[in-house]
């Protein structure tokens, strides 16, 4: 039953833009899908206790490399985005390898990655002659209108379908990791690194694998965001605020379940939109305040997140029903 339900849901999501095209809700949906993909990318490593506060850095790299390659090198995003992924992956190796090799784990790992967020932000700001600094940056329009070569589209429907595809790809990767041996190794590592090593796991290598995967996916989210919005700034795709927002959304949605990050994205983005629409400029920054309060409440009372807790509740109900 759940299987047919899943296909029905997928069909509804794909079919939606052909029957409903109001621009504002479509825009919100596209944004939700892009961020859902970014949050899913974060949770691929986050669920194993590898809490990174540096993913804003990876997202920023993906976005800026794609945009800079286009504007300065006239390199199509079809090549620019993979370059961004590569750069994100490389940066992940440079930062994470020493951490894993010298057993910097838990809070200390989080702090190192937090520094990474800050550094990427500073680099973007400091090289303002090329990147526009904190004022932001715009990829040049290709001729006028849509182009597959430039990955620029004027229609929301196209962007919706692209974002949907990338989001589904993210879920697919999540499941691949979940079903693979990598999950066994990382669950073991998160509990007892020495014990895992004693069963033959090359701890550094396995941790690095998932980190590079997660970083590259996040860079792709950055590239996608850049192409869709046609405007990026350090505050929206990089920096500490973006990194923290990823952690917050995933914790709220559910870190251990595949759709948790998506639920987190729906909640955080709707919250920000509702505050913006109902209070306007008077509420600038309120969403961050509400995030902060909610985060504290969730970590204390609902560590599995909204979706995670609901699924656990349903499982417990079924277990009780089956036990009778």
């Amino acid at each position: 039953m759940t299987r047919s339900l899943r296909w029905l849901g997928a069909a509804a999501l794909v079919g939606l833009p052909f029957v409903y095209t109001a621009p504002y809700p479509m825009h919100i949906l596209i944004i939700i899908l892009i961020w859902s993909f970014a949050y899913t990318s974060w949770s691929i490593m986050g669920r194993f206790g590898l809490v990174s506060l540096g993913h804003g850095g990876f997202m920023g790299i993906g976005a800026y490399v794609t945009a800079l390659a286009w504007n300065y090198g006239h390199v199509s995003p079809w090549i620019g985005a993979p370059l961004g992924l590569l750069a994100g992956g490389l940066l992940a190796v440079v930062v994470a390898y020493p951490c894993f090799r010298f057993r910097i784990i838990g809070h200390y790992f989080a702090l190192v990655t937090l520094a990474l967020s800050g550094i990427v932000l500073q680099v973007i700001t400091a090289t303002r002659d090329y990147t526009g600094g904190s004022l932001g940056y715009t990829p040049e329009r290709y001729k006028n209108g849509s182009s597959l070569y430039a990955v620029q589209f004027t229609g929301k429907t196209t962007w919706y379908l692209i974002a949907l595809g990338v989001w589904a790809f993210g879920l697919y990767i999540w499941h691949r990791v979940d079903r693979g041996m990598l999950r066994y190794a990382l669950e073991a590592i998160s509990e007892d690194e020495d014990g895992a090593a004693a069963t033959g796991v090359h701890v550094t290598r396995e941790k690095l694998k998932v980190t590079v995967l997660s970083a590259a996916m996040t860079a792709l989210a950055g590239a996608l965001y850049c192409q869709y919005q046609m405007f990026i700034s350090p505050d929206t795709v990089s920096g500490i605020a973006v990194s923290l927002q990823m952690v917050f959304a995933v914790v709220v949605g559910g870190i251990y379940v595949p759709l948790g990050p998506t639920v987190g994205a729906v909640i955080t983005i709707m919250l920000a939109e509702v505050l913006r629409v109902s209070f306007g400029t008077r509420a600038v920054g309120w969403d961050n305040l509400v995030y902060g309060i909610l985060l504290v409440i969730f970590i204390i009372f609902l560590p599995k997140g909204i979706l995670g807790s609901l699924l656990a509740l349903r499982r417990a109900r079924r277990g009780a029903a089956a036990g009778e």
């Binding site: 041996m181 066994y184 669950e187 004693a198 033959g200 796991v201």
Partner: protein, 251 residues
């Protein structure tokens, strides 16, 4: 098979293992005994790669392995169990063993890992159904799980650390027989560390006795049990028990 020469480990000013040399022959069960703090587990940790030796050499199948990381040593064919069981509670019982079967055999194939896990679980007498959990396993079952994890890596040499501690008399007998069977039927050479001696004497081929990080005796169980230095170290009931067992001959 395993040749240890002048193996030394110092922690700061404290010498835990001092110039210990011995050899393990293919197909035997070698008992490594000694009171608490005599350096048995430290030797194990050095052979399995958890600790790097301060000095000396460890050669396995003609190859120097001292200072290599644990995952490489396992893939060369040295499995180990821990004195205190280390189950992974976020994995199911079978997954625990599959993990060892996969990564302990050089990540060859998932299928082989599942097969090895099923064999190992069957051999030690634990359930092989996928739903079985690690939660709620007792001391004896956790010891068995440790053994199954080590066996799933299909080792040539098994380092068994205090397999009996925390077990009752009946369970100890079973565990000792199991090690004998593993050695005979699977052709796995075993080094067995224990500080409870009675059950070990019955099963091992040779014994090495350690005290304060030094080797003080080596030989057949009966001869070792009558060695005056060993009796001195194991004053009291345990020495008496050793002689009693050695006197009645091995089963």
């Amino acid at each position: 098979m395993l040749k240890i020469e002048g193996l030394t480990k110092r922690f700061g000013g404290f010498t835990a293992v001092n110039a210990v040399s011995f050899e393990v022959h293919k197909g035997e069960i070698l008992g490594l005994i000694g009171p608490n703090g005599s350096g048995k587990s430290t030797i194990f940790n050095m052979v399995s790669g958890t600790l790097a030796p301060t000095g000396g050499s460890i050669r396995f199948a003609g190859r120097e392995i001292a200072g290599q990381p644990p995952h490489r040593i396992i893939n060369l064919g040295i499995g180990r169990t821990f004195q205190i069981p280390r189950p992974f509670r976020r994995l199911s019982l079978v997954e625990n063993v599959v993990l060892a079967g996969y990564y302990g055999q050089g990540r060859r194939s998932r299928l082989k890992a599942f097969e090895a896990a099923e064999r190992a679980l069957g051999l030690v007498g634990l359930p092989t159904d996928r739903a079985a959990s690690v939660e709620g396993l007792g001391a004896a079952a956790l010891k068995k799980l440790e053994l199954a994890k080590a066996l799933a890596t299909e080792p040539k040499l098994l380092l068994a650390d205090e397999s009996l501690s925390g077990l009752d008399e009946h369970e100890m007998d079973q565990a000792a027989d199991l090690l004998r069977r593993i050695c005979r039927d699977l052709d796995i050479t075993i080094v067995w560390v224990e500080h409870i001696m009675g059950h070990l004497m019955r099963v091992v081929d040779r014994i090495i006795v350690l005290d304060h990080g030094e080797k003080i005796a080596e030989g057949q169980p009966a001869a070792v049990a009558n060695d005056p230095r060993v009796i001195e170290v194991y004053l009291g009931t345990q020495a008496a028990a050793m002689r009693a067992v050695a006197g009645t001959g091995r089963a």
